[in-house]
């Protein structure tokens, strides 16, 4: 099962065991995850020796016709793998603050100018020193490409170098999320000399400045990464070898954790903590993410059932985000507005107009729109927990007299139905967005002219688009929070894409085999972000 959602990833016997197992039944824990340090679920123990082999299992491989080109990568699972070999000018800290990476510092002489001072000791894994030309060239290549990430960078006017280690970016207008947008894999610094002289094709070869280099990759089976001996950060990466096994079946990953053949694995089931309860050396943690599920209501289909905004608002009112979070996601998600819950400056979902109304208001709106016996089909893909979210939505809307028929499809069938045609033919659909690291970023997808992918089912709203652009220009602070709140309220009233709840990421690791570092929150779906710090406890 391969998720082809917007910038995203993460998926998803008996009689005798059931009896044997009853004794160890534990209630899956809910509530906030315990942090070991502010912003961290786990911190690698520096006292442990570095070296060794780290065996990981993830549910899905990267895979697209565009190959490994980081600039064209648009799913989080691909970002995660490419981030082992590629690096960006800046990165994201534990609290979503922007931190130096390939740029050791930067200045903003004016709201439209950014001057980056590059590290001088950085080499690509082929040994060649990284220069300002690589940075400028990467920018130019990205801006000229068909990458979706262009839209997140804002309006870039020019990129110039000033000597070998300084790069200046000028924007046409102020754009607050600029640095956060630079912190993601599509904005990575590529080896432009090799790309230009065609000695390296980034679609087939990974050549970056990152902590690891690829030794072997078998599609859908495994990756092997070796440490990059030329890596600039002293003492990193700690582990010599990363073996990443692709295991689509959750039970196989759970088994690998239990028998020690994997030291760390991503899990798709929100209740996996319960599944691993009693396996003493395995620790299960839930990483909060800014990713969130949303409901698409197609207004562009001929004779759309959702053409009247009152119908859409009635649905927004009848949806019970809290119940979706508590039941479908086992209490691990949070209700979210169009600015992802958890990001600094995001608006309060409880303050949205739809949140203050009740089922009777929803019924009244439906009656006014002449849609009392509304019935529609909700198209979802089969990867958990999407079916669980859909079934709670169905129960929610039943309260308002709306009948929802769930149509569960495989990933390819779903993508074809939702994105394959313009105007699209589906009624409603469920998916999730990666929430990124700045509250203004994902709001851009509410402007279909900017996003492109939803042009087939979403009618542009000039007022909403103006509000989104205004919030992008506003510098961080109270005024921006107000501007973002206006975006949230307007998107809530528009209700063509209704934000639901954040999507937690579950990770488990063996405490006897590994001492990893993990952020408490993540914006780009990258569970392996700090893997270069992870210490292997015993040779496996």
């Amino acid at each position: 099962m391969r998720p082809i959602r917007l910038a995203c990833g993460v998926a998803a016997a008996l009689l005798a065991t059931a009896c044997a197992a009853t004794g160890t039944t534990t209630q899956p824990s809910t509530g906030p995850q315990a942090e070991v340090e502010p912003g961290y679920l786990a911190v690698a123990d520096d006292a442990l020796p570095s070296g060794g082999t780290l065996n990981l299992q993830v549910h899905i491989d990267s895979g697209a016709a565009t190959g490994y080109d980081p600039q064209l990568a648009d799913v989080a699972t691909t970002w995660q793998l490419l981030s082992l070999a590629y690096e960006t000018l800046v990165t994201v800290g534990p609290d979503f603050s922007v931190q130096p990476l390939l740029a050791e510092k930067w200045e903003t002489p004016s709201p439209t100018e950014y001057v980056f001072h590059l590290r001088e000791d950085v080499s690509f894994s082929n040994g060649r020193k990284m220069t300002a030309d690589d940075v400028v060239g990467s920018f130019e290549r990205l801006l000229a490409s068909k990458s979706v990430w262009r839209g997140q960078l804002g309006a870039v006017k020019s990129v110039t170098k000033d000597g070998d280690h300084t790069v200046k970016v000028t924007l046409k207008e102020p754009y607050t999320p600029f640095l956060a947008a630079l912190a993601n894999v599509p904005a990575a610094v590529l080896p432009m000399k090799e790309i230009n002289d065609k000695s390296v094709d980034p679609a087939t070869t990974l050549l970056g400045t990152g902590p690891y280099v690829v030794k072997d990759h078998r599609q859908d089976v495994s990756w092997t990464f070796k440490r990059n001996e030329k890596y600039w950060a002293k003492g990193k990466p700690a582990a010599d070898t990363l073996n990443i096994t692709i295991a689509p079946e959750e039970a196989a990953r759970v088994a690998a954790l239990q028998n020690g053949s994997a030291a760390l694995a991503t899990l798709g089931n929100v209740d996996s903590a319960g599944m691993l309860a009693g396996a003493g050396d395995v620790k299960v943690v839930t990483q909060a993410t800014t990713d969130f599920y949303y409901l698409m209501l197609n207004t562009k289909a001929p004779a759309s059932k959702f053409a009247d905004p009152k119908v859409r608002q009635a649905i927004a009112i009848a949806l019970d985000q809290r119940q979706i979070a508590d039941i479908a996601l086992g209490g691990k998600g949070e209700p979210s507005a169009v600015t992802p819950a958890g990001l600094p400056g995001a608006c309060d979902p409880a303050a949205l107009p739809s949140a203050s109304k009740g089922i009777d208001d929803a019924k009244r709106l439906l009656a006014e729109a002449g849609a009392q016996n509304l019935t529609f089909t909700l198209s979802i893909y089969s990867t958990q927990p999407a079916p669980a979210v859909a079934q709670v939505i169905q129960q929610n809307l039943q309260q308002a007299g709306i009948t929802v028929k769930i149509e569960q499809m495989d990933e390819a069938g779903w993508s074809g139905k939702v994105y394959g045609k313009a105007p699209a033919e589906f009624d409603a659909a469920l998916s999730w967005f990666a929430g990124y690291a700045d509250p203004g970023m994902v709001t851009k997808w509410w402007n279909p002219e900017e996003a492109g992918f939803n042009v087939g089912f979403m009618t542009p709203d000039k007022e909403l688009n103006a509000l989104i652009d205004a919030a992008g220009k506003e510098p961080a602070g109270a005024a921006r929070e107000k501007a973002l709140a206006a975006v949230c309220a307007k998107a809530d009233a528009d209700a063509q894409m209704i934000p639901l709840v954040t999507r937690p990421a579950t990770v488990a690791f063996r405490t006897d085999a590994l001492s990893p570092s993990l952020y408490s929150t993540e914006g780009y779906g990258n569970v392996l972000r700090l893997v270069a710090d992870a210490r292997v406890k015993k040779s496996q």
Partner: protein, 322 residues
């Protein structure tokens, strides 16, 4: 001469079947809703990117042309290029085939080694008119527990209680035969449960059929020992239906392997097909399913040949039965 005629007819009909299979696979793959473009390129792809991809894989051609082209290249041993990995499908199939083959061969071995003695034993011990309820229940249970139930159970129990055999840590046979075998035992065992039951059942029926033959009566009359009779008269004469069954079992195992590979995360042909269907990776689905069907068809020709050798009386007129 008649034999030769029969064999050429058999070869011809097998070829026709394979051709029919290829048409069916191709039609099914093209009828699947959901665009390869949205799946392979993602929703952000532009119309030009999608068109470019279609051209690159020849998907802008009329379907009949595509089919003809595919048939031509497959006949030449070229299975095309995977849209996801951009690698030749043939090479990947070749790398994955040993896993599925090993799994199936182990399962066949288990079903012959366990199923045949079990069948002989229950047949020889059976009393006329006796029900053998316990045996029937047991063999019934064997065919009643689907692999995905048994597999999930085994994966869970063995990893949970650290019972020694590793789950989810597959290593290639060429790299470390001992560890490879340790990781293959459980999946093969799960896969063979159904086959063992069916083999035991068929063997029992076949042996019971032979037991009433006059030459067995004569042997009993001569005072030969039961086990001598089993070895010299029964096994040879009851072999044909059991060998025929192996052909059917092959088809069954290829399907079962698909589920078992998924449950145990083994990189075989089955998991390749499942993942490719979910992504509309046309070349992979076509090649994988054609391979599975092809193996089955060839296997059955071989079985017919074997049955002819084992029991010349049946010769070329032997029909297959389940």
């Amino acid at each position: 001469m008649r034999l030769l005629m029969w064999w050429s007819g058999r070869a011809l009909s097998s070829a026709a079947t394979l051709l029919g299979v290829s048409v069916l696979i191709f039609a099914a793959v093209r009828l699947m809703p959901g665009g390869f473009a949205e799946t392979v390129l993602g929703p952000f792809a532009t119309a030009e990117q999608k068109a470019e991809l279609a051209t690159r894989y020849g998907l802008d051609q009329p379907v009949f042309m595509q089919y003809g082209h595919w048939l031509g290249t497959v006949a030449g041993g070229d299975f095309g290029i995977s849209m996801i990995s951009r690698q030749p499908v043939g090479a990947e199939l070749l790398a994955r085939l040993p896993v599925t083959a090993e799994l199936s061969l182990l399962a066949v071995a288990v079903s012959v080694l366990a199923g045949v003695p079990l069948g002989v034993l229950t047949a020889v011990r059976a009393r006329p008119g006796g029900g053998g309820a316990a045996g029937r229940l047991l063999s019934g249970l064997g065919v009643s527990v689907p692999e995905f139930v048994l597999g999930s159970l085994v994966v869970f129990v063995f990893s949970r209680y650290a019972l020694g055999l590793e789950v989810g840590a597959w290593v290639p046979l060429t790299q470390d035969p001992a560890r490879n075998l340790a990781t293959m035992v459980l999946p093969a065992a799960v896969l063979s449960v159904f086959a063992v039951s069916v083999t035991a059942r068929t063997t029992r029926d076949a042996v019971m059929g032979v037991l009433v033959e006059p030459y067995v009566t004569a042997a009993v009359g001569r005072g030969e020992s039961p086990w001598f009779i089993v070895r010299h008269h029964i096994l040879r004469n009851a072999a044909a239906p059991v060998v025929t069954l192996l052909g059917t079992i092959t088809a069954y195992l290829l399907g079962g392997a698909l589920i078992v590979e998924h449950v145990f995360n083994l990189p075989g042909v089955g998991s390749y097909i499942v993942q490719a269907v979910g992504r509309r990776d046309y070349a992979v689905v076509q090649a994988g399913v054609l391979l599975a069907a092809g193996v089955f068809i060839v296997m059955n020709v071989v079985i017919d040949l074997l049955v002819g050798v084992l029991d010349p009386r049946l010769g070329v007129t032997a029909g297959r039965r389940s």
